[in-house]
């Protein structure tokens, strides 16, 4: 195919384990294997076209990072052939290629040189890299004196300013503080719009589904499924739910211990000022409600700086096991938010005749970008809803329905 940019043919990666250190030397000297292999990635064949956005999902240890490192060139495959037609830039481990003793300035030139840029090309990109990273006063200091946030900013800025044909992102959509996270997200969206090929690995299935054209689901080093995001993400979600029946998912465990406090305060980005949950007008943190009878209202107050597009809001209802039960978002529902002169605004989600059946539920609130993709702030467990029912319906939801006797 003329527009094929990445071709993997039977590419695998095994890590070697030696009984004795000297076995490695003997292997190098004789060329005969004296190691035991741990297969991180089984032979894998894949073709990626120019401009495709590929999502990679899978549990920890599934081989996602190994695949991305092979594509980025930080690992060499054990078998197979890997052909890449273009410059690859990877955001895998932020600051991985930095030399701690060198200044930020020198590390820009070093990293660009590793990426294959000439001195002149780096000169041309330097000012934009520094401006995007937003740390001009620190560029002459050794990077070992940088905070982790500054390292992240500089690494992200370099990775996205070397004009790559292929961008590889591993769990890095929220880089640094709130303002920079928003800018980095916009930067990635620019790449998508410009028709660059993107490999995007994330545990956020929502973002993977929203961003990607195709999704690979890796499991135990193999492609378990690949195809359209809707199909693969659905299959993967079901798999996770089956797994959660055996082991509680991290999200559920986290939920049990999280507090409904505001995660961070960044004055330059939209933030949640407060969330109030009322049932039939009564405000509380823990509600006991009757299924299909009460009005549940979630009021979200937020602040949105005028320099950014108006944010959107999403509310998720989770079951007691952490499973997503339902969600509602202003972007999906076509609702535009407004703020006053003081940049504060509020929106209320109404759930009349709360249709969930008996059980224990919790609510999460998200303040998102105007596209509903980038999360500015997440407020967990804003309220607990203990639903009771007098009737004998089964399941988790009472769907609007009617009977037509003939």
């Amino acid at each position: 195919m003329a527009d094929t940019i990445i071709t993997l043919a039977g590419v695998s990666k095994s890590y070697r384990s030696y009984a004795h250190d000297f076995d490695r030397v003997l292997e190098i000297l004789t060329g005969k294997a004296r190691h035991q292999s741990f297969h991180a990635l089984e032979p894998l064949s894949l073709t990626v076209s120019k401009g495709e956005v590929i999502g990679v999902v899978g549990k920890n240890g599934a081989g996602k990072s190994t695949l991305l490192k092979l594509l980025a060139g930080t690992l060499q495959s054990s078998t197979g052939s890997l052909s890449i037609n273009g410059r690859v830039s990877a955001i895998l481990e932020l600051g991985a290629s930095f030399h701690p003793e060198m200044s930020g300035h020198d590390n820009v030139y070093l990293t660009c040189a590793i990426q294959g840029l000439t001195r002149r090309e780096t000169d041309a990109a330097y000012d934009a890299i520094v401006a995007f990273a937003g740390i001009p006063d620190f560029m002459q200091r050794p990077v070992k004196t940088y905070s982790s946030g500054m390292l992240m900013r500089l690494a992200f800025s370099i990775a996205t300013h070397v004009n790559p044909d292929i961008l590889i992102i591993d769990e890095a959509l929220s880089v640094g503080d709130g303002v920079f996270a928003r800018r980095s997200f916009d930067r990635i969206m620019e790449f998508r719009k410009a028709g660059k090929t993107i490999f995007f690995c994330s545990h956020s299935l929502y973002q993977v589904e929203a961003l990607c054209d195709r999704v690979l689901w890796l499991d135990q080093g193999r492609i378990r499924e690949q195809g359209t995001p809707a199909r693969v993400i659905t299959a993967y979600s079901e798999f996770l739910q089956q797994q959660s029946a055996v082991v509680a998912p991290p999200e559920a465990a986290e939920l049990a211990t999280s507090t409904p406090s505001v995660a961070s305060v960044n004055p330059g980005v939209p933030r949640v000022l407060g969330v109030a949950v009322r049932v039939d007008g009564r405000l509380a943190k823990v509600h006991t409600i009757q299924s299909c009878r009460n009005l549940v209202e979630v009021e979200i107050r937020f602040r949105a700086p005028a320099n950014l597009p108006m944010p959107s809001v999403g509310v998720i209802i989770l079951g007691g096991d952490g499973r997503f039960i339902a969600s509602a978002g202003t972007v999906n529902d076509g609702v535009t938010l407004h703020t006053g002169a003081d940049q504060n605004g509020s929106v209320t989600l109404q759930l009349p005749d709360f249709p969930l059946l008996k059980g224990c539920y919790s609510l999460e609130v998200y303040l998102l970008c105007e596209r509903g993709l980038h999360v500015y702030e997440k407020v967990r467990q804003v309220a607990e809803l203990n639903v009771e029912q007098k009737s004998l319906e089964l399941g988790i939801v009472n769907l609007p329905h009617q009977w037509l006797p003939h």
Partner: protein, 269 residues
């Protein structure tokens, strides 16, 4: 693929890949060399001149010791200092390159452990500074002692020596990675090697029975070649053939081991 075809390809790779690396990654090598010079000389008054001043001062030291103090001109004729410097400067270059190559992978591990750093540039990085510095000093010294024609010939000496030393460099890097004692022992071995090589003395000062075995020391051949080339005496073709043969014998194993080691080095460090 037949054995001979594979061998031929290996020979070609062993020569082409390390030599092509400086051209493919010129920007990166320049960056690393500049960084090294800056690290060595930052805060000093002479700055970037220091790498040249140091061997220059060594030349002056040799001149003072052997031309002034010991007055070797009287003992061995006027050419002793010339003989010493023409052999000593290439030797110092070779010694510096080989000593540093034993820690090649560890020295640069910060850069390549988690990034797509092209490992094939490492041999080039360690030869660039000694190569440029000692070539410059050798050319100036030769010009001062033997004139312009000899100085022009001297331009070839260090590049040829380093090209010949490439398999040794690769082997030292591999051995140094796995046997850390090697890096500690090599400087002493090189010093001993300097004493058994006719650098500090004329070959004819050796006892005849020892002189008969000098062909076993390739560095003695190098000294003969350098002096033959620069002073215009009879060119020792036997030494040239021996050096070329040894180079060819070592090149493929050196490259093969180095290439195999590259597959392990990121996991190991």
């Amino acid at each position: 693929m037949s054995f001979w075809l594979r061998l031929g390809r290996l020979c070609l790779d062993s020569l082409c890949v390390p030599i092509a690396a400086p051209f493919r990654h010129a920007s990166l090598i320049r960056m690393l060399v500049q960084r090294e010079i800056a690290a060595r000389t930052s805060g000093t008054l002479l700055g970037k001149l220091w790498p040249l001043v140091q061997p220059g001062l060594q030349v002056l030291g040799f001149w003072f010791m052997f031309a002034v103090v010991y007055d070797m001109r009287n003992a061995r004729g006027p050419s002793f200092l010339q003989y010493l410097l023409l052999g000593m400067l290439p030797w110092l270059c070779l010694s510096e390159v080989l000593s540093r190559s034993t820690g090649l992978f560890r020295e640069f591990s910060v850069l390549f452990a988690r990034s797509p750093f092209p490992l094939e540039v490492l041999p080039s990085v360690v030869v660039v500074i000694p190569g440029i510095v000692y070539s410059t000093v050798l050319v100036l010294t030769t010009g001062w002692m033997l004139g312009v024609v000899a100085a022009l010939k001297a331009v070839l000496v260090i590049p040829l020596l380093l090209l010949w030393a490439l398999p040794l460099l690769l082997l030292c890097a591999v051995i140094g990675l796995f046997v850390r004692d090697f890096g500690q022992a090599l400087p002493f071995v090189l010093t001993l090697l300097m004493y058994v090589t006719p650098i500090l003395y004329f070959p004819d000062m050796l006892p005849p029975q020892v002189r008969d075995w000098m062909w076993l020391n390739p560095l003695a051949d190098w000294m003969t070649v350098i002096h033959g080339l620069l002073t215009g005496t009879a060119f020792p073709m036997n030494s040239v053939w021996r050096l070329a043969a040894l180079w060819l014998v070592l090149l493929v194993p050196g490259w093969l081991l180095y290439r195999r080691t590259l597959l392990h080095v990121r996991e190991l460090l």
